[in-house]
């Protein structure tokens, strides 16, 4: 017996070792595109340590190296703490509302008795996911404008009109809630997929034991998606400082800049508009992505300590 098992595994090992070099051709285009558009820009990070003027070569005999000066300049910038605060709070509040809601919605949809209705509702919930950012923000300018839907409703209720895009304190709620509106249904799908794998016998056994539906949600359904939840949790924490800045950029007005300027919109403005400072801008962007990686690795390490559901 032992010999046979050993023989089989040997054969398997040999098969595993047999490599097919033709397969490299299949992956070559993807490899090349990623090299050009992801790895070559990483080489461009060097300009974060240079006094770089548009038109310069990244490496030439005229390159002026400035060490960490660009980073020091950013840390001393009067905008530094505002940028950190705006970026972090936008992510944090977005996470606090946007993370639990899809889980709750998935648990509720899953426990609906009318399965067909549940399916239809689920499909409608994620329609907004496919609306482009431009249209989404455009809709907000229309709805929250001086004579838009929301102000007309406030007016009808006897309240005074409010200039949402001219008040900086309105920016965060608008950004976060519109994001939640757009994506909660989409984010619920992954949990619904995990829930569809729950063994129905567990539910039947629990019903015989006299458990209410609500109790079964917490005792059976929630544990079934715990793994998915923890992986998405790690990913969200890793993204704690990366905002959807393409949307922020569209929502910015001169009046709400105090709350709406985030690290990446600052990178865009410093690097590509007005008086360009590309070395400085790249340094700020690098700071942002390094913090992201650190957060992701810490979240993953923490998860490793408490459970086996980790990303890598």
């Amino acid at each position: 017996m032992d010999q046979m098992i050993a023989g089989m595994s040997l054969r398997e090992i040999r098969k595993r070792e047999k490599k097919n070099y033709w397969l490299l051709l299949f992956i070559l285009p993807a490899f090349a595109f990623v090299f050009v558009f992801c790895y070559v820009p990483m080489y461009g990070i060097l300009i974060a340590f240079q006094d770089f003027v548009p038109g310069d070569e990244i490496l030439s005999e005229y390159t002026i190296w400035v060490g960490w000066d660009n980073f020091v300049m950013f840390f001393k910038d009067y905008m530094f703490w505002t940028l950190i605060e705006n970026t972090f709070l936008l992510c944090l509040f977005g996470f606090l509302i946007g993370f639990p809601l899809p889980i709750a919605v998935a648990l509720m949809l899953n426990s609906m008795r009318q399965k067909r209705a549940s399916k239809v509702i689920q499909t409608i919930y994620y329609i907004p996911h496919f609306i482009s950012l431009v249209v989404m923000v455009g809709m907000m300018y229309l709805f929250f404008g001086q004579y838009g839907l929301v102000n007309n409703m406030l007016d009808a209720l006897g309240l005074s009109r409010y200039s949402f895009f001219l008040r900086e304190e309105a920016f965060r709620p608008m950004y976060i809630l519109s994001g939640v509106w757009q994506d909660f249904g989409w984010n619920a799908i992954i949990y619904l997929a995990a829930l569809s794998g729950v063994d129905q016998e567990q539910h039947e056994a629990a019903i015989i034991d006299g458990a209410t539906r609500l109790r079964r949600v917490f005792a059976i359904d929630l544990p079934a998606i715990a793994g998915t939840v923890s992986i998405l949790l790690i990913l969200s924490i890793g993204n704690m400082i990366s905002v959807g800045y393409e949307k922020v950029l569209l929502m910015q007005t001169d009046a709400n800049l105090g709350k709406s300027e985030v690290i990446m919109t600052y990178v865009y403005k410093k690097g590509l508009t007005g008086y360009v400072m590309q070395g400085y801008s790249t340094a700020v962007g690098l700071f942002n992505s390094v913090v992201n990686v650190i957060l992701l690795i810490s979240a993953n390490t923490l998860a490793k300590m408490f459970s086996k559901n980790t990303l890598f």
Partner: protein
């Protein structure tokens, strides 16, 4: 509660039955509560969309006076007429269709074979190649180095800047890999290879015909991303004739609004102008989102499938 049942069991049928009744009542309340919440959410999702539709065919004065809430008032199509006379909308539409078709075609040619190769154990240097791709999911050069690269490649103000940098999404590629790892029985592939089919024959005659679901999902994911992309046009293109639809929409929906918010001058003129522009805005939202919404009922099941394949990973 479980303890209660254990205690109750020997005492006969009465107590459990009463317990069952309590469970039934608690469940009825539970179901009513979740139904109400879910229907409320449904209204929150649908009403803004519905409002855009009715506003696009309503009289602008009626919208401004707050008469339009549940149904269109003073039905007219002036917004659509004015919008369709705008030449930029047509150019934008044409460009977006070209970028979406070309971009998605390239995406498929690059992503599907790569995902297939990654799913095979016989791929040489498997660990290195996987790591090579995974790193880019979490770290990149950033905005300015990418811009400098596009500039060095002389792709600024070229339609290719809208396509080439997005030729492959590593997320999607791993989704394809997950599909092949779980979706195609190994025996089929081995049988083909035993019969003497080479890697390419196996791929084109056996793998591709079995890949319809993942191809559908990938086409949809990539096409929607291309259709909705505005940011690369903002940074890479300055020639308006190359602008995709989303950039034209940005002018109509957002830049006009931002300019208006800081504008002084005669209040009534501003109001008239805003009214004029307003119905164009609502109709432009409809016109640009229509292709996706019309396709929606047919493709939604594929989108779900896509996310579920991703969940397997």
């Amino acid at each position: 509660m479980e303890q209660e049942i254990i205690q109750a069991a020997p005492e006969g049928l009465q107590k459990p039955r009463r317990h069952k009744k309590a469970v039934g009542k608690a469940d009825r309340i539970y179901y009513i509560v979740i139904d109400v919440i879910l229907v409320l959410l449904l209204l929150i999702v649908l009403y803004p969309l519905y409002f855009v539709v009715i506003a696009s065919i309503s009289d602008t004065d009626a919208i401004f006076n707050g008469e339009v809430f549940l149904y269109p008032v003073g039905i007219n199509f002036k917004g659509y007429e004015a919008l369709l006379q705008n030449k930029m909308i047509w150019t934008g539409y044409r460009n977006t269709i070209l970028y979406t078709l070309g971009g998605t075609l390239l995406n498929m040619i690059v992503t599907i074979p790569a995902g297939w190769a990654l799913s095979r154990k016989e791929l040489p240097w498997h660990r290195f190649i996987a790591t090579y791709f995974i790193i880019t999911m979490f770290f990149g050069g950033g905005l300015i180095p990418l811009y400098l690269l596009i500039s060095d490649l002389h792709l600024l103000d070229s339609p290719f800047a809208m396509i080439l940098p997005y030729a492959v999404s590593v997320w999607n590629m791993f989704m394809v890999k997950a599909f092949y790892t779980g979706g195609i029985p190994n025996g089929v592939i081995e049988a083909a290879e035993v019969d003497g089919a080479g890697s390419f024959r196996t791929f084109f005659y056996i793998v591709i015909p079995l890949s319809k679901p993942i191809i559908a999902v990938m086409v949809l994911f990539y096409a929607v991303a291309h259709w909705n992309n505005y940011f690369s046009a903002l940074i890479f293109l300055s020639d308006e004739n190359l602008y995709p639809l989303q950039m034209i929409l940005r002018e109509i929906l957002i830049m006009a609004e931002k300019a208006g918010s800081g504008m002084g001058g005669d209040a009534t003129t501003i109001l008239e102008q805003t009214k004029l522009a307003n119905s164009i805005k609502y109709s432009s939202i409809i016109v640009s989102t229509l292709p996706i919404l019309v396709l929606y009922p047919f493709v939604s099941k594929f989108f779900e499938k896509g996310v579920m394949i991703g969940a397997l990973k």
